[in-house]
Symmetry: D3
Amino acid sequence: MFSVTVRDHMMIAHSFRGEVFGPAQRLHGATFVVDATFRRAGLDADGIVVDIGRATDRLRAVLGELTYRNLDDEPAFAGVNTTTEVLARTVADRLAEAAHAGDLGEGARGLAGITVTLHESHVAWASYERAL
Amino acid sequence: MFSVTVRDHMMIAHSFRGEVFGPAQRLHGATFVVDATFRRAGLDADGIVVDIGRATDRLRAVLGELTYRNLDDEPAFAGVNTTTEVLARTVADRLAEAAHAGDLGEGARGLAGITVTLHESHVAWASYERAL
Amino acid sequence: MFSVTVRDHMMIAHSFRGEVFGPAQRLHGATFVVDATFRRAGLDADGIVVDIGRATDRLRAVLGELTYRNLDDEPAFAGVNTTTEVLARTVADRLAEAAHAGDLGEGARGLAGITVTLHESHVAWASYERAL
Amino acid sequence: MFSVTVRDHMMIAHSFRGEVFGPAQRLHGATFVVDATFRRAGLDADGIVVDIGRATDRLRAVLGELTYRNLDDEPAFAGVNTTTEVLARTVADRLAEAAHAGDLGEGARGLAGITVTLHESHVAWASYERAL
Amino acid sequence: MFSVTVRDHMMIAHSFRGEVFGPAQRLHGATFVVDATFRRAGLDADGIVVDIGRATDRLRAVLGELTYRNLDDEPAFAGVNTTTEVLARTVADRLAEAAHAGDLGEGARGLAGITVTLHESHVAWASYERAL
Amino acid sequence: MFSVTVRDHMMIAHSFRGEVFGPAQRLHGATFVVDATFRRAGLDADGIVVDIGRATDRLRAVLGELTYRNLDDEPAFAGVNTTTEVLARTVADRLAEAAHAGDLGEGARGLAGITVTLHESHVAWASYERAL
């Protein structure tokens, strides 16, 4: 199995509902350093998993819909805690849609899966892994 | 599949028995930067894999039983080489016990597995992965 | 010249005023991984620059006054852009006050200076360096 | 499942054939920071996955056949794009040959698999995972 | 003293002349992860050292003149070993020219100095520091 | 001003005397990831600060005298706390002796200074800077 990973980041504000979150129930924020991993059983004729330029551009586009925003005001997350886990799934699902729509190139149709990891600090991160 | 990882560290002394270890048969030591990963198929009602505050506290407690010690003198490791691999399993097993005992919260009962990685330097690390 | 550095982090929301900030004029947030460096010409009788336990605790206390907050609502920053540079100075100045007040131990009175670096992402950081 | 990883690097020149590569069709180069991970279900009698000294030496030997070279001139890669993915497989396959030949020690015959990750920059890396 | 640093990278091929370089006399290559640090005694009216967007764009432009090339063929480096040290100075000097030309904004005219660090691997890097 | 840095590591056991050290008064250990920085006003005829191969070898030799040992038993440290600060100075002073003795090559006689940083964990490090 092969994989290729590209990294970018987003900077958002949000708050959480639930006693388990303690002081993070207050409005605060985070930089998420985001790693998007594309998996594939074999390589295409060019010897790659995915066009890394397209993967980088698409990750930037997906994060561009989230960054520099207060996620508490985003309709897409109404009634949902935008935890690191939830955001990892959101990014992975939107990349998966892009792959299915052909936005990662024709070769990306052979992808087996996507994993997205969001680093919220130097001591904590979360991942979501899905098939394609 | 989701996962959440928290990082902490411990600083221990130890020595190894066996020619394969070369100069590491002498009493020496290591800083282990420890990553504890908790895996779960779905998220709980709060949108999380595990209460990250509890996970952090529990990892600190487990490492607190090992750090600032000479592991050669610890009864728990009598007759055992405290290699990075063995210590990764020790930390993972103790976190698993904590999960089973409810010390990571009720939600943690839904965890699928735990992986622990110990970084012994910038050029070497070891992991142990287990089901819960 | 000797130095000792300890690392911690904070997670805040804020917005900026000024066209130069582009989309960062919107309410957003950041994780700042914070490095506090203490400098000293010589070592004390124990062979250290500063009691690293006290330095770590004091840094945590200073960051505890800022983390999990919307800095736009903090009186201390009224009328001020809480840029990475400004926050680096704030943290450094508060650590300097702590040193002068004896909160870093008597030995810390020999400190020559403090530098604070705030990492806002994997591709950007800012520092403020001052004498003590 | 246990794993042990060792890190080293190589510095090579190469070019790619195919429009998908854009400016990377020109002769350029890369530092690849290489992580070789050895997996094993259980530990041997010494409490290790593999002799880390031998693993380090063998990784260095494998990278020594590639580093400080223009890969466009290497017969082993004639007609092949030496993408990060392809090079990850090359390194993994050569380490697997070494394991089979006994060059990683007798204990290494119990290895379940090898994963090799090549970091081409701070924002991109690729992996190849195989059974042994 | 304040500073702001932005990070980007370039991927080049080159060779060195001189016995001191050993195998690096052969055509090979490198990824350089590049940190550009801008220093300034005080902050401008917006509370910043430099417009970080412009600094990022300018660094990208400077690296864009070097990346995906064989530096042995670049007239700018005729008769010069393109060592990590030399390239750090090249990048710093080109950023200094940009600052003097106003390409980093009017505020950047108050900059005191620039430091550029090129990381050639996880175990080696070089810096060049200059006044403005 | 130019600089070149090389990185290596050592793994030692030790204990500290003095109440300020708390639990670190017990025998424990550390991995120190060691960065040795060589500074020089200008470059030599080859375009370098120092022969990086020799610098790497010499750092390895200096660390080889310390690693895989219990520093409490080393005569060189009798009556001295082997704090991170003290060890940074020890490594810097031994590299300075090597430079003076010509072990870093004739070109190294032009070095202006050396800085050594020892990382004891992902959240703490210490440096010692000296002239040559």
